[in-house]
């Protein structure tokens, strides 16, 4: 099938403002949007810039706005979209070139929630024990691939980029509810700050955007509840 890709282009060395490029590509309905982008880059316009690596939805490189929704280009098939496809960079992060955005502000929020196990007890000679149920408690949020699709779909983040954003909260959740972790107190304090969880207005864009189908809004709600519970 013939597909028209309408791609938001911007090269800071050349362009004063972003513009739309139109490309016609011959696709199979089962092709990925990433395959179509590759076709454009390889055979029509080599200067098109985007990130990609694994091509099967696991490395988190190619989150972008496709027909108005954040998705991974490699996990979205042409047949889901029809023959007119609009592709833009993620919103809310500075554009470096074309579909490539500056991830540093996103990663900074991620780093701010102490995204590592906190436990200073001397470890046992073998593994720390954890029951199947304790492990299950935080399973959903371990799936996060830091693709930024959720955070950059959130109106609260667009409005105030200092909002820590859903991805960082998901990553915090992964530790807060891990029975082996002792850092919850401090993490919850960070998340209780003005730029923390209370900016979330339950809009659900994040949950819809997550390519890993993580229940993001629910995870945020659980963190909010935990803060309130500890406040007593």
């Amino acid at each position: 099938m013939k597909v028209i890709l309408k791609i938001r282009r911007f090269n800071p060395e050349r362009d004063r403002a972003p513009w739309w490029g139109y490309y016609q590509v011959e696709c199979e309905p089962t092709d990925r949007v990433l395959d179509a982008l590759n076709w454009v880059k390889w055979y029509q316009d080599g200067s098109l810039a985007y990130r990609r690596s694994c091509a099967h939805g696991i490395c988190g490189s190619d989150a972008m706005r496709i027909n108005g929704r954040n998705r991974l280009a490699c996990k979205t098939l042409i047949k889901e979209l029809g023959n007119r496809i609009t592709i833009e960079p993620l919103l809310g992060l500075p554009v470096i070139k074309d579909l490539v955005v500056d991830l540093e502000p996103f990663m900074k929020h991620y780093r701010s929630i102490m995204p590592y196990l906190v436990n200073d007890d001397p470890p046992p000679a073998t593994e720390r024990l954890q029951s199947i149920a304790q492990r299950e408690r935080f399973d959903d949020t371990t799936k996060c691939i830091l693709c930024a699709a959720c955070t950059t779909s959130c109106p609260a983040f667009w409005a105030r980029p200092d909002y820590i954003g859903p991805a960082a909260i998901v990553q915090a959740h992964r530790f807060i509810f891990d029975s082996r972790d002792h850092g919850a107190e401090e993490r919850l304090r960070i998340l209780d700050a003005p730029s923390g969880v209370w900016r979330c207005r339950d809009i659900y864009n994040c949950t819809e955007a997550c390519p890993r189908e993580i229940q993001v809004t629910q995870a945020i709600a659980e963190v909010k509840r935990e803060i309130l519970r500890r406040r007593g």
């Binding site: 090269n11 800071p12 060395e13 050349r14 089962t30 990925r32 880059k41 390889w42 055979y43 316009d45 080599g46 200067s47 810039a49 985007y50 990130r51 990609r52 690596s53 694994c54 091509a55 099967h56 939805g57 696991i58 490395c59 988190g60 490189s61 098939l77 470096i96 070139k97 074309d98 490539v100 990663m107 780093r111 102490m114 995204p115 590592y116 196990l117 436990n119 470890p123 000679a125 073998t126 593994e127 720390r128 024990l129 954890q130 029951s131 199947i132 304790q134 492990r135 935080f138 399973d139 371990t142 799936k143 691939i145 830091l146 992964r174 530790f175 891990d178 082996r180 972790d181 189908e213």
Partner: protein
């Protein structure tokens, strides 16, 4: 800043932020100043795609011993692995898996709260010869959890990262490695990193082949860079094809699927593996299964006569074969599995199959074919990750390699599933530690003048060529097709010779390739062109080494030389790049207590 290059100075500079690079960074940065350079954000590294598990003889479900792991690995390697290295691998695996757990890795758990383990190809109880549960897993995203856990620890330890910096050259001065040249992708700026020690942890090069499980970014940069600087590459003829890639796409379906009981079925509905490997069946070594699939297809027993077979993970199929095989759970009851259990243990691959094939693997079998997967060969190193420059095992001072880009050799002619994740941790750590020891004894070596000149010239030449009729994409596709046809699972002399001629022609055409993007900022047109240069060189080395090895061993199957030939070929190849082309030399295999035997599964 000197001229238009930015200078940096660190004790140790690590190239690559996958499992091997991060592990080296964690250990080295406890003692000296370390920088990690990665062409992608660290969490995008290939380690994150590993699915099935990491092997360690913890014995959490049933009896197991590191020594059994040693034997299985050596047998899996078709006796080409160095046995001293395998010993290190399998014994250190146990403490490293515990260390990962202590770092917070969310392994799945047994009912008693210990790390859960599943069976995997080629891992056995050495007494009963039956599959043993040795692969420690976190669902089917074990690699994702390893990569994230190590990155988390690096954040905690405040390791310095240069993200989206692509290394294009290693700087040597009088035979000592003393730095790197890297391109900052977002700006096009060149940087020189001066270092006492340099560690390459850049991963593999599956993109040489058409059907591959490997990412677009897996282009063998590190291996090609050192080859160009006169360091040999070891055992390049050995590249593993994993039996179960999604048909036509190559996306991997983990061996863990067969570990959970999945079976391979041909076009006639037969479970054909019992004819090729009566004991281990669908959990035989990967080379054995990939060959079996090709043979079934060749005999017209592919599905609908085409070039694929089915991987069946429907619970009714699994349970039928559990019953036929008399499989027992560790508690002695007959082994059974439910649809829900399959979904919890293999959520990602269930999702891949649904997304890309539009079918539910719990109701329909999955069409699969062998997919180019893993480089057993690479930069030769000793047990501490030191790169070796010749067949006498002399180290090149200051240069280290670890992970898939390295060849210690623990995988020999065929890697066992779960052993790469062990390899990256064990030898990542060892190279990090040894780099520190080395730093303590040596000062910085002076950088040669204008060390960035060769890179600058290469990039200028690529940038300045007009966009003629030679395209990167055409040359790459042609290389991938040639390698698939002639240097894949089955090989023979005339085919390989054809491939070599075709590759040399492609290299000539590559000299005329033009690029469209002339800008400095995020120029992936330029970098794809540069990466294609790496792939072409590695493809040629692979083919040349494959032509020379006139025997069949592990994944290297020569139809014109179907037997293993220990008398002439129990040795590692070393490929050097010289003025006259590729030169092959050889060095012996280290054999300790397991002399070569016939290999049956």
């Amino acid at each position: 800043m000197e001229g238009d290059v930015v200078l940096h100075k660190y004790d140790v500079v690590i190239v690559g932020a996958g499992g091997a690079g991060l592990m080296a960074a964690l250990y080295a940065s406890r003692s000296v100043r370390v920088a990690v350079l990665s062409k992608m954000w660290p969490v995008r590294s290939h380690t994150g795609t590993a699915q099935g598990g990491i092997g360690a003889a913890l014995g959490n479900h049933e009896e197991d011993h590191p020594e059994w792991h040693v034997f299985d690995t050596i047998k899996g390697s078709d006796y080409l692995a160095d046995q001293d290295a395998v010993r290190v691998l399998c014994y250190e695996a146990v403490e490293l898996v515990y260390e990962l757990e202590h770092m917070g890795l969310p392994f799945d758990r047994t009912p008693s709260g210990r790390i859960a383990q599943r069976p995997f190809g080629g891992h056995t109880n050495n007494v009963t010869k039956q599959p043993v549960r040795r692969a420690c897993h976190a669902a089917d995203r074990t690699g994702h959890m390893i990569l994230q856990t190590l990155y988390q620890q690096c954040i905690k330890q405040r390791v310095t990262f240069f993200d989206e910096f692509q290394v294009l050259d290693v700087i040597l001065n009088e035979g000592i490695a003393c730095g790197l040249v890297a391109l900052e992708i977002t700006t096009g700026q060149l940087h020189i990193f001066q270092a006492r020690a340099v560690v390459f942890a850049t991963g593999g090069w599956g993109k040489i082949w058409q059907i591959t499980s490997n990412a677009h970014s897996f282009t063998g940069d590190g291996a090609a860079i050192v080859l160009r600087r006169g360091i040999p590459l070891e055992d390049m003829e050995f590249f593993q094809f994993h039996p179960t890639g999604i048909y036509k796409m190559g996306i991997l379906i983990t061996e863990g699927a067969r570990g959970e009981g999945g079976v391979l079925i041909n076009g006639r509905g037969d479970r054909f593996m019992e004819r090729y490997a009566p004991t281990m069946k669908d959990l035989a070594s990967r080379d054995v299964i990939s060959r079996a699939i090709y043979l079934e297809i060749r005999e017209g027993r592919g599905v609908e006569g085409k070039d694929y077979v089915y991987l069946d993970i429907r619970p009714e199929t699994i349970n039928r074969y559990f019953e036929l095989d008399g499989k027992k759970s560790p508690d002695g009851t007959p082994r059974r599995i439910t649809a829900d259990e399959i979904k919890t243990r293999l959520p990602d691959i269930t999702d891949f199959v649904r997304t890309y094939l539009g079918i539910d693997p719990l109701n329909q079998p999955i069409p699969v074919q062998p997919t180019a997967h893993y480089a057993m060969g690479g930069i030769p190193t000793d047990l501490d990750g030191r790169a070796l420059k010749n067949e006498n095992n002399e180290a090149l001072p200051g240069l280290y390699a670890a992970g898939e880009v390295a060849c210690v050799s623990v995988h020999g002619a065929n890697r066992l599933g779960t052993n790469s994740l062990v390899d990256i941790l064990v030898f990542g750590r060892r190279s990090g530690l040894d780099a520190v020891r080395y730093c303590r004894q040596t000062d910085f070596t002076k950088l040669p003048a204008r060390a960035d000149e060769p890179v600058r010239e290469t990039l200028e030449s690529l940038r300045s060529r007009p966009l003629g009729d030679e395209r990167i994409a055409d040359i790459r596709a042609e290389m991938q097709r040639v390698m698939m046809d002639y240097v894949g699972v089955f090989r023979e002399a005339t085919g390989i010779e054809k491939a070599i001629r075709a590759l040399r022609e492609l290299q000539e055409r590559y000299q005329r390739v033009g690029i469209q993007d002339k800008s400095m900022c995020y120029n992936t047109d330029l970098l794809e062109a540069w990466e294609l240069g790496c792939l072409l060189e590695l493809a040629e080395v692979t083919a040349v080494a494959a032509l020379a090895r006139t025997e069949s061993r592990g994944c290297h199957t020569r139809e014109d030389h179907p037997q293993r030939d220990d008398k002439n070929w129990l040795k590692h190849s070393l490929a050097f790049r010289t003025e006259q082309g590729i030169e092959l030399r050889y060095k012996p295999v280290t054999i300790l207590n397991y002399p070569p035997q016939e290999r049956v599964y």
